[in-house]
Amino acid sequence: MDKKTVTTISYLSRLKLDGEKEEKITNDLKNIIQFVNQLEEVNTSDIEPLTNPLEKTAKTRDDKVTANNLKEELLEIAPSSNEDYFLVPRVVE
């Protein structure tokens, strides 16, 4: 974990970090990874990866439409919208 990795991750997460914070977070992350790395000592070659701590399987649904038209309510809670769409700063294709 170095500063360059932190810069990349903060870009990917769209989090803006200033210089001081960046340094602190770099150190924090270093420590966290060091701590978690202790797990590497355990031999896991015969163990299936655990995808969920519940160790249960999913309930599924039947293919039925149950949603109502919430257009007005949903557009209203968006930061920006017009009568038909959510609006965001222009994304250039």
């Binding site: 769209r14 293919d63 919430l70 038909d84 769409y85 959510f86 965001v88």
Partner: protein
């Protein structure tokens, strides 16, 4: 220097479920914007996705039909990226344990049949739609499509030309429509594909660096985009540069591919298991039920048409090429015993009309019942083949019932032999020069007499009877 092309396709087939992959939102196409959006599709805090069982069943149908392995336990992962039409900031997909792995499909190419292996087919949710050109300085977002189930079908890099890529896509489209898991409607975006293209020196074992062409949704553009990209990569390498691994966008208006790299800077999806979803388990019983419900597939149909019905191979191929053609054939065959004649007309006159109008058979006015009846009226001698053509054209225009057309236009074939004899005698009597020439050895003139009789009867005479009668008169 000669180059070899290596192509792999990722086809996204929209599964024809009624509701979305993880919510009860409707998947109906063409609805008013943002009216089919559930709270789960919006990615609102506190909501939880619940998987749609039918999407799994449909994916499994594809797996079984391609001889693939079905993972009865499959799980979901998050693919993280930011884009306005992806409200959650991640797409739920199956990275580590896809529902389907290691299948294959047979593809007809110019060099005969080729097996293309399918690495995997996994379930994932579609994103919404961004509208870029409608609003000044802003992008509109419609989330109706967000959460719609997709089956992403990933081929091995075993395709070696643009034409072959198109043939592969067509084979997959044919299969998913036969299986009734995707409507195959490319204009509505129900099937789209990403194409990975690379080139290498002939004989080289190692693959070249690939470029990915994104989101192409027509056969024509797949072929054009790949061919452009092959040319471009050859140019790059022959100029002493190297191909960059990147995503490129195909511009159909300019017929070129453009780098999208600026947008994809430091692309890293940081996949991890989706903590909101537990592994989905398909029981042996469910698997067996799906297996038992699989329909007859194109290849099986083709074989049956040849071995049981006795169709020509070329006919069987055309008829089994699409579900709608096969339905027309099988539906019409229920109305008449002469199935071979049904096939002949379907491949001949009906296909010609389809090509002329550039439509699919289910878009025409011809119904299987009416078509079958038309063939039956030929075999029971109500009308001649020639008249049947004009009846078919009338159906094509109006969709009217065969018997109504025959009756209202007075097209019933003349069966009365004495009437035909009378007309034939009249024709022979009023053309003494031709009779003399015919008897003098110009046998080709026989056709002239037949033509005259048909003209006199407005095509309603049975050609076979006319032939016999004229032979008797002319000796």
């Amino acid at each position: 220097m000669s180059w070899e092309t290596v192509i792999g396709l990722e086809i996204h087939a929209q599964l024809s479920t009624k509701s979305k992959l993880f919510s009860g939102g409707s998947t109906e196409f063409g609805a008013e914007s943002n009216t089919h959006v559930d709270l789960v599709d919006m990615g609102l805090p506190g909501v939880l996705p619940v998987a749609n069982k039918e999407a799994f069943y449909k994916a499994i149908r594809f797996g079984l039909a391609t001889g693939a392995e079905i993972n009865q336990v499959s799980s979901f992962d998050r693919k993280n990226y930011f884009y306005p039409d992806l409200p959650k900031g991640y797409q739920i997909t199956q990275m580590t344990k896809p529902i389907v792995e290691k299948g294959s499909i047979k593809v007809s190419t110019d060099n005969g049949e080729k097996i293309i292996n399918i690495t995997r087919a996994h379930l994932e949710e579609d994103a919404g739609k961004s509208i870029h050109d409608l609003f000044e300085g802003e992008t509109g977002v419609d989330l109706n499509r967000a959460g719609t189930p997709l089956l992403e079908i990933v081929s091995e890099p075993e395709i070696s030309s643009a034409k072959e890529a198109v043939a592969y896509f067509k084979a997959v489209k044919q299969l998913v429509t036969f299986l009734d898991i995707c409507d195959g409607n490319m204009a509505q975006g129900s099937m789209r594909c990403d194409v990975n293209v690379s080139i290498k020196k002939s004989g080289d074992k190692e693959l070249g660096t690939r470029a990915e062409l994104k989101n192409i949704n027509s056969f024509k553009f797949i072929e054009k985009a790949i061919n452009y990209e092959i040319e471009r990569q050859i140019r790059v390498i022959e100029n002493g540069e190297s191909v960059v691994q990147e995503t490129r966008l195909y511009d159909s208006e300019k017929n070129e591919t453009r780098s999208m790299r600026s947008k994809e800077e430091a692309n890293d999806y940081r996949y991890f298991p989706c903590p909101d979803l537990l592994p989905v388990v398909i029981s042996d019983k469910e698997l067996k039920e799906i297996k038992d419900s699989l329909p007859e597939l194109p290849e099986q149909k083709e074989h049956r048409y040849i071995s049981e019905i006795g169709l020509e191979e070329s006919e069987a191929k055309i008829i089994s090429s699409s579900k709608t053609m096969a339905n027309m054939f099988e539906g019409a065959s229920r109305k008449t015993d002469d199935t071979k004649l049904v096939a002949k007309w379907l491949v001949g006159d009906v296909s010609a009309l389809l090509n002329k109008d550039n439509i699919e058979i289910d878009e025409s006015n011809l119904s299987p019942e009416n078509f079958g009846k038309l063939i039956e009226r030929i075999t029971d001698n109500t009308i001649s083949g020639k008249i049947a053509k004009s009846v078919l054209e009338e159906i094509w225009k109006s969709g009217s019932d065969v018997d109504n057309i025959i009756e209202s236009k007075g097209l019933v074939q003349i069966q009365d032999e004495s009437l035909l004899e009378e007309i034939a005698n009249k024709i022979v009597g009023s053309n003494p020069n031709q009779v003399e020439a015919y008897k003098g050895g110009k046998e080709k003139l026989f056709g002239f007499f037949v033509g005259q009789v048909m003209k006199e009867t407005q095509g309603k005479a049975n050609p076979k009877s006319v032939n016999e009668i004229l032979k008797k008169i002319l000796g």
